[in-house]
């Protein structure tokens, strides 16, 4: 019984690339949130994946409240879910992280605790089942050798737009300027009258919201489930570290690279093997090239 693939190499690679792009699109948004929080606050947020999960679960809840067209429910979820997640993140920042004075190792332990609190509370309130959200629209794109979900292609485009939006906020608005100043040197920023504490809270909320948006986009493809936060967390870690801690450009580059390579490796080999390779890669990058593959050496 030899395993031989149905598709020729060309279409096979094309499908793998599409899968990789979808993964990269969602991953970019999620990892960007993690990277932003690390870059500005120097805090590793282990609960980041749970914000992603919350985004998806809330999307299910919001869209199930709306009768009628699935598009309406989805659009409402796209707005409401990140806002609620942002508010929860803001509260956790005020109640926990600030009290720890953002001490790096303590915040990791605290956010591990936060991870369990969010995940298990969701289990209590939402239950252990996986639930689906209907896509706002559905069409099937017929390629010569296989079919593909049109919605997935739209996810790629939507992520690119959101990415541009984030870039605009960071580069062209006062909020972005303040964030970049705080990231560069928080003490000097404080001396110039920037309310660093408030910036931290905003950044933490914004990071969580990016994860939530990514989750809302993904939930018509995957189902909302209380354990779905772990994979995006690990992948985001991988992306942020390989891209260079705190470097937004590096994060985007690494997300595309990891998303694509994971997507492609998963199709050609085994998804588990792809994950083993990337986790080992991350460990080695952190040891031997701590500034990341695309980062510059720290000041």
């Amino acid at each position: 019984m030899r395993r031989h693939a149905s598709l020729d190499f060309g279409p096979f690679l094309f499908l793998a690339t599409l899968e990789g792009l979808v993964q990269a699109a969602v991953l970019t948004l999620t990892a960007l949130g993690l990277s932003l929080v690390f870059g500005v606050m120097r805090v590793v947020n282990v609960a980041h994946g749970e914000f992603f999960m919350l985004g998806a679960v809330l999307a299910w809840w919001v869209s199930s409240l709306v009768a009628g067209s699935p598009a309406l429910g989805f659009l409402l979820a796209l707005v409401a879910s990140p806002l609620v997640v942002g508010a929860i993140a803001l509260a956790s920042e005020r109640l926990i992280l600030r009290r720890l004075n953002y001490h790096p190792e303590s915040t990791i332990v605290a956010t591990i605790g936060l991870l369990y609190i969010i995940q298990q509370t969701t289990l209590i309130l939402y239950g252990p089942d996986a639930r689906s959200v209907e896509a706002p629209f559905y069409f099937r794109v017929e390629f010569p050798d296989f079919g593909y979900s049109g919605y997935k292609l739209v996810v790629i485009a939507a992520s690119a737009l959101l990415l541009l939006g984030t870039w605009f906020v960071m580069r062209r608005t006062r909020l972005g300027l303040v964030m970049r100043a705080t990231q560069y040197d928080s003490e000097t920023a404080q001396a110039f009258g920037i309310p660093v504490g408030r910036v931290y809270a905003q950044v933490f909320a914004l990071g969580a919201m990016l994860a939530a948006v990514a989750a809302v986009l993904v939930v018509p493809i995957q189902q909302a489930h209380y354990l779905m936060g772990l994979d995006p967390l690990l992948l985001s870690f991988i992306v942020v570290i390989i891209g260079g801690l705190g470097s937004l450009g590096g994060t985007v580059l690494a997300a595309v690279l990891i998303g694509l390579s994971d997507g492609i490796l998963s199709v050609f080999f085994s998804p588990t093997l792809a994950k083993i390779v990337s986790t080992l890669l991350v460990a080695l990058v952190l040891v031997f090239r701590p500034e990341g593959l695309f980062g510059k050496r720290a000041r």
């Binding site: 332990v109 605790g113 609190i117 509370t121 588990t272 083993i276 952190l286 040891v287």
Partner: protein, 317 residues
Amino acid sequence: MTAARVVGLHVLVLALLFAAQFVVSDYDQLTLTRMMVLAVYAVGYNLLFGYAGLLSLGHALFFGAGLYGAGLAAYHFEAGVPLAFVAGLAASLLVSLLIGLIALRTRGVSFMIVTMMFAQAGFLALLYFSRWTGGDQGLPLPAAARSFTVAGLTIDLADAGTRYNVAVALLAVAIGIGLLVVMRPGGRVLVAIRENEERTRMLGYDVFAHKLKAFVISGGLSGAAGAAYGLMFAYIGATFASIQYSIEVLLFTLLGGAGTLLGPVLGTILMFYLIDKASEVTSAYLLVVGFVLVGLILWFPKGILGTVRDRWARWLP
């Protein structure tokens, strides 16, 4: 004399644990057995975290190495209990030596993430090589793999009483090793590295070598706990190598008091009990883990015995 007081206290604790089997219910005896084996794991973890100040988020890898080292030897090669245990111990020593050589080049947050990633890779590898490891399903060990004879005395780990006393003995050995490491001059060097690494280097200590030694001893104790757990309860599974087991041992240690020898034992017993009781009330019993972690970090960073030592008993090791 401080040393006598310290040794006396630890002997007393072990004697109480030994005596407990005559008064507790069947279920508490079973639970205490599990607690003591996991306490060995926590004692090992604490040598690295509490004394050398290295916070690993990947110790499940070493527990898992011991578990699978022993379990696979018993399952595939029909090794007897002593040989399987040695195989588990050797596997965890080897894995911790290799990981230590690489991970100890980093510190702080990077060290936490590197250890976590290695452990995750190990966990995934257990799933990937499912032909050997049983993957998600794990492997139940045959009953024959759990009974052995020493000096004409047959020890059957399937027997609850025997198992309990083996656990007491193992914990005694672990605490003994802990005392040896901590009370001797070498223990002072570990604490010195935790408090001020650069100064310690400039006092002429090979900091890397000391850390590596602590890492390997810690990994070995974790592996011994894993090997014992597998052989005692006749099952090895990937869950034991998952990140949750890395986090629970951190929690045990933090709760009891990092950097105190008995802290992890106390923390393991309390937390295990809490989780077990919570699981009777709700499936979301890990909620307890979350709240205790956050609470400890915010209000009680030194844990129970750490606070006791600061306030009342400075001589506690």
